[in-house]
Amino acid sequence: MSDDILSVRDLKLSVKGDAGLAQILDHVDFAVKPGEVMGLVGESGCGKSTLIRTILGLPPKGARIDSGTVAFRGRNLLDPKEAQQIRGREIGFIPQDPFQAFNPVFTVGAQILEILRWSGLPDDPKGARYDKSLRARHKARLIEVLRAVQIPDPEEALDRYPHQFSGGQRQRILIAGALATRPSLILADEPTTALDVTTQMQILRLLRELAADYNVAMLFVTHDFGVVAQICDRVSVMYAGQTVETGTTPQIIDGPRHPYTGMLMACHPERSTEITGIPGQVSSPLTPPPGCRFAPRCPRATEACTSARPGLLNSRDGRQLACVHEEEFA
């Protein structure tokens, strides 16, 4: 297990707000191996964004870690100092919305070079002052990665403003920015939801190639199983702050075993002949139901489900599963 690049173990996090104590994450547990693309799937409000922020060492205001660990190559990301060293250097980040990520009044080159100025590149000489020659090195590296993400005329592109690029190109530039520091892990928070389908497919293929070429692991947050099928090697499914099932992409898409994963897959237009849905609503993190949080909406729920939270068990087919009804097959 020590070869995991990112491991989130038993993470429990609550946020104190005006309305009371919200239990946002409840035993989230998964790991990302080097070079692997891991999908993180869940509906809105399931805690994906909080989890991403926690991994980046920027948990929401008022957050309290109740238990668990988050480690990057064995280094503790829950320690703010350590996280600050890793974030933006060894862990890159691709935001959701390429239209909001840039400041409209500066050129894209100036913006990304400014980021590189503070993060530095791994091959920068030790203790060097930021001067013209260092800036030129950063620029050369940036041009190199812009070429890798297929931006035409990268030298010239640096001097252009964000509005001169289309959404797809802006997303490519952000990907280049994330790659520039040679990270070994990239967090991608729904990087294609703001894009059109034809552009989305281009970006997905690009990310897949880059992950292989640069041997970068990726944690890919999405809610679209179609996107998962295109890019992810494995998937972890979250429901209301709990990890319910983790497995390889074919395992989750073609043979989901947790009732929630199964019902979610059945909602996919490709999978259902009749339009269904999942009855009921996601419970509030202020008043989570005891035990399995999906139990109130689950057709298979019994007393055992509400008495205790089902543990995430290793199943014989290699997946992790948190459901008492599947334990006998685990």
Partner: protein
């Protein structure tokens, strides 16, 4: 065939292109550039295209919020085009609109009930009891109860906001509803229930839908017919079965191949480039710079829609070999 509920003939909506004394001339944007559509009563017509293709401009023009530059709009056989926005809204009150983001369409300081009452007041229903009766009927129809009238918009979930949006529109008793991306931003499980509700409502109230979306999988399951738009023009239109099983236009094919499915698509050509901006519309067929099968004449003249079967028309002479001759398609 029965008389279409709504028909547009060569509808064009252009923006800008004006010059005034001291300002820079604004570029001419041909947002909608010659769209002819017939929508039969009771059908669901899907309008699909990428951002900037003019889908929403069509919706605004049909509603009367934008004035068309050219072309005719016929509602139930009567010409309702060529009027200024205020009058256009009156004569077209049979057409109503469900906002893309119904949360943003609700006033955050108003209780939902007040917003719903205001909608009816604006449309001339002055009797409070009658308004209340209509509102309760519609709330019931969309699966919400009276308690929601006292809530504020932020107390509603995304799915509930859509339901309120539908109830608000339906309380005006429209015959045709334009749904602008009605499921964008919704989770899969909620999206499914909202789609089901929309189909149920159509059956109950004899509605006709113009369903604007970029989500092909939703369009495929909900629509009877589908029109594919690219830069202000319809490039393919036909029955949903036909278009999805045998897409003819190269752009339609590219769209269908780009939609992520549940199996990994390693093969298949991904279309290159981004959709060009409507201010710099390429000459001839607007799709030719990205088209894998573009020929010399595609750069010069704009292909017209031509029937390739009973239920499918395509604006591409090279789409179906042997069925449409180039000379025929380019004749305009």
């Amino acid at each position: 065939m029965s008389r279409p509920l709504l028909e547009t003939v060569d509808l064009k909506t252009h923006y800008g292109g004006t010059r005034s004394l001291l300002s820079k001339p604004k570029p001419l944007v041909r947002a909608v550039d010659g769209v002819s559509l017939k929508i039969q009563p009771g059908e669901v017509l899907g309008l699909v295209g990428e951002s900037g293709c003019g889908k929403s401009t069509i919706a605004k023009t049909l509603l009367g919020l934008e004035r068309e530059t050219e072309g005719a709009i016929l509602l139930d056989g009567f010409d309702v085009g060529g009027r200024d926005p205020a009058e256009a809204r009156k004569v077209r009150s049979d057409i109503q609109y469900v906002h893309q983001d119904p949360g943003a369409a609700l006033d955050p300081w108003w209780r939902v009930g007040d917003t719903l009452h205001e909608t009816l007041k604006i449309h001339g229903v002055s009797d409070r009891a009658e308004r209340q009766a209509r509102i309760l009927e519609m709330l019931n129809a969309v699966g919400l109860n009276e308690g929601f009238l006292r809530r504020y918009p932020h107390e509603l979930s995304g799915g509930q906001q859509r339901r309120i949006g539908l109830a608000r529109t339906l309380s005006l008793r429209p015959r045709m509803v334009i749904l602008d991306e009605p499921t964008s931003g919704l989770d899969l499980s909620v999206q499914a229930t909202v789609l089901k509700l929309m189909l149920d409502l159509r059956a109950t109230y004899d509605l006709t839908y113009l369903f604007i979306s970029h989500d092909l999988s939703v369009v495929e399951r909900l629509c009877d017919r589908v029109a594919i738009m690219y830069l202000g023009r319809i490039v393919e239109i036909g029955s949903a079965d036909q278009v999805f099983s045998a897409p003819a236009h190269p752009y339609t094919r590219a769209l269908l191949e780009s939609a992520p499915t549940l199996t990994r698509q390693d093969s298949g050509q991904v279309i290159q480039g981004d959709p060009p901006s409507p201010t710099r519309r390429p000459e001839g067929c607007a799709f030719h710079p990205r088209c894998p099968m573009a020929q010399a004449d595609c750069r010069q003249s704009v292909p017209q829609l031509a029937e390739v079967s009973d239920s499918q028309s395509v604006a591409c002479p090279y789409a179906m070999p042997g069925q449409v001759r180039p000379a025929e398609a380019f004749a305009s």
